[in-house]
């Protein structure tokens, strides 16, 4: 039925099977849109957040997808700036993943703010001393860049490219990609950093507060490094996942190993910096404000196991596996280590968002607890469904993995 829209030389499942895959996700998205409608039309009382627990599941989702979506900027940086041709095999997929992550994050932010009609206020009346202002500006600008980067991928669709105007425009857009990749790298550096900086400047939250390097707290650099490390791993994991679901080999093994090596090297640097930062915080920053660092790990269920899990199990271990050539050459180890890297960054964002807010800041405070409402969960899952839908459509009708044709015919 839709064969003429599927890229030449690629095989995709039948239209019926494709729709059977899509319909459940469409229903999930529809349910999420209903929850979003409730939040926007009736108010944020539909959520379980309050004035003290103001960052919940949605901000956690935002931070996580933005960290994982760093695969887009970093793959572009590798290909267009560092000229690493290995990255070409996954660049289109990385752009789509980045677009999904960032557009999903911006959409959820609009719901979280609760007043999307006033979203322009932040641009019109920016507080230039706020990390969030920088995040807002950079996110918007980078989402625009990702949309522009997505256009040539769409214009290369088998049918669209038959229109000469589209093909010529795609060609010209392709030529300016290095500029956009440079801009994307610049913007990503600052918004990833500012998201981290957001927590590092919270003087009233000694669990998150960190020493400053220049005008930026150390969390600024930790977020940049961790996102750069997790991005290639996320692209790797998603490529393997799509290979598994579609039962097709999409890239050569060297490409995945290359992503793993880059990710592992960056993760190792990140873990080193994170370890130094944690030691400084434990021995200097936290005691200076009257807290023993370990007090934070005696509150509720937030034990030291979280720190060990984040830094050692989901940080140091995958980093060592990924930098080791022999281990990396084993597909299961490679995939497992990349998955652990992604989980590590997800846990880090959980710690920074949820644990920071849950921990008491005053002697008479108790550990706050928060359980997301069904509307929050439905919105969260809707972003996931939106991502699956957009990626599935892109995978079916666009060339996300240029090597797929070569692998099939070789």
């Amino acid at each position: 039925m839709d064969k003429q829209f599927i890229p030449r030389g690629l095989r995709r499942t039948t239209f019926g099977k494709f729709m059977a895959w899509m319909i459940p996700w469409i229903l999930v998205l529809g349910f999420g849109l209903y929850a979003i409608y409730l939040c926007l039309a009736e108010g944020l009382f539909h959520t379980n957040m309050d004035n003290r627990f103001a960052f919940g599941l949605w901000i956690y989702l935002d931070l996580t997808v933005i960290a994982l979506g760093a695969g887009a900027f970093f793959t572009g940086f590798l290909l267009y700036i560092l000229r690493r041709e290995e990255a070409r095999a996954v660049i289109n997929s990385a752009v789509v993943l980045g677009l999904i992550c960032y557009s999903g994050a911006v959409a959820v932010l609009m719901v979280d703010v609760g007043q999307p009609l006033r979203a322009w206020f932040t641009f019109w009346h920016p507080n230039t001393h706020s990390m969030l202002t920088e995040v807002t500006f950079c996110l918007t600008a980078y989402l625009t860049v990702l949309l522009i980067e997505y256009v040539p991928i769409v214009l290369k669709n088998r049918k669209l490219r038959q229109i000469p105007r589209f093909l010529v425009f795609e060609f010209q857009l392709h030529k300016i990609m290095p500029v956009l990749a440079g801009v994307g790298t610049f913007l990503s550096f600052f918004h990833q950093g500012s998201l981290g900086g957001l927590y590092g400047v919270l003087q009233g939250r000694p669990f998150a507060f960190r020493e400053a390097l220049g005008i930026w707290p150390s969390t600024f650099f930790l977020f940049v490094l961790s996102a750069a490390a997790a991005g290639p791993s996320f692209v790797l994991v998603m490529t393997a996942l799509v290979q598994g679901i579609s039962k097709k080999k999409l890239v050569k093994p060297e490409v995945l190993q290359f992503l793993g090596r880059i990710s592992g090297s960056l993760l190792l640097v990140y873990i080193l910096v994170k370890a130094i930062d944690t030691l400084v915080w434990m021995n200097y920053t936290s005691p200076m404000v009257g807290f023993s660092a370990f007090e934070f790990y005696n509150a509720g269920s937030f034990g030291t196991w979280i720190l060990v899990l984040e830094v050692v199990v989901l940080g140091l271990v995958p980093a060592l596996l990924l930098v080791n050539g022999h281990m990396r050459a084993r597909p299961l180890v490679l995939l497992g280590a990349a998955l652990m890297t992604c989980c590590g960054v997800m846990l880090n964002r959980f710690v920074m968002t949820i644990q920071t807010l849950a921990l008491p800041t005053l002697p008479f405070d108790a550990v706050l607890s928060y359980m997301p409402s069904w509307e929050e969960v439905a919105t969260f899952v809707a972003v996931l469904a939106y991502g699956v839908l957009l990626y599935s459509l892109s995978f079916r009708y666009l060339t996300l993995f240029p090597q797929e044709k070569d692998i099939r015919q070789s």
Binding site: K3, Q4, I6, R8, G9, R11, F123, W124, H125, P126, T128, H129, T133, E134, F137, A141, T144, V145, I148, K156, R158, R161, Q162, P164, R165, L167, V168, F169, E170, F171, Q172, L173, H174, K175, I176, V179, L180, V183, F186, L187, K248, T399, P402, K405, D406, R408, Q409, S410
Partner: protein, 276 residues
Amino acid sequence: MFPWIYEFRWTVGHIIFLGVFFTVAAVVVSTVVLALRRSKKAIADPRREALQWTSEFEDLPAVVRACRHQLSGEVKERTCHHEFDCRSCATHPQFLARTAPAIHAAAEESLCGISMPLDRYYHRGHTWVKPEGDGTFTIGLDEFGSRMIGQPDAVALPEVGSAVLANGTGWTMRKRSSDLRVLAPIDGVVVEQGGPDKGWYLRVRSEGTEPQFRHLLRGHEIRPWLVRELERLEYALSSDGIGLSLADGGELMPDLWKQSPEIDWEGVWGSMLLQA
């Protein structure tokens, strides 16, 4: 954000932050505007087909972009990065110097029922060009292409007097609701069209300098190329996970699509005619 906004005050923070932001925004907007302006210019340029070929070539699978010297066995593996235009390839003359010119007594190559006369040059998109000796050149679709596509439902040949460009659209054919682009092997101005009764062809005269055929296949290169093309066709027709399964000695049947009309023939034809 802007000085005229209520209660806006210039501070160092504003100047740095907004300066950087507007610089980034200006870079993004100006690059997109530049791409749009270049596109508008390129669309109006009659040589935009060269650009289209560049774009198409980039997206062809590596197996299709195999160098002619790989096809003829002179090198184990080599991918073309010159859009099949050996005139711009620095290595091509070295290969020619290394290999003694093959002598072909036969008038044609024949494989799986396909005859390829050796009195002409072949483009990798399954067109040929034959010098007629009077300064004109005949261009046609080779037998491989003809058998694969069969009788077209409609053909749109360029008007006499119009120009065709090497690797640009020679003519278009319509077959089973698919529009197929047949690539021209050389530059030239159309001086004659061949209609359905005479076989579809074009006769062109080159403008200015004599056309070069260095980018086209000929003689000893035809057979290995044909073998490769048959393999490529088999892959295009094969089911996923099965790959090559045709027994040796089979013939490529005329109007091949009639044997399996359920196949995505537009995709197969396009791939074989070098459309990405």
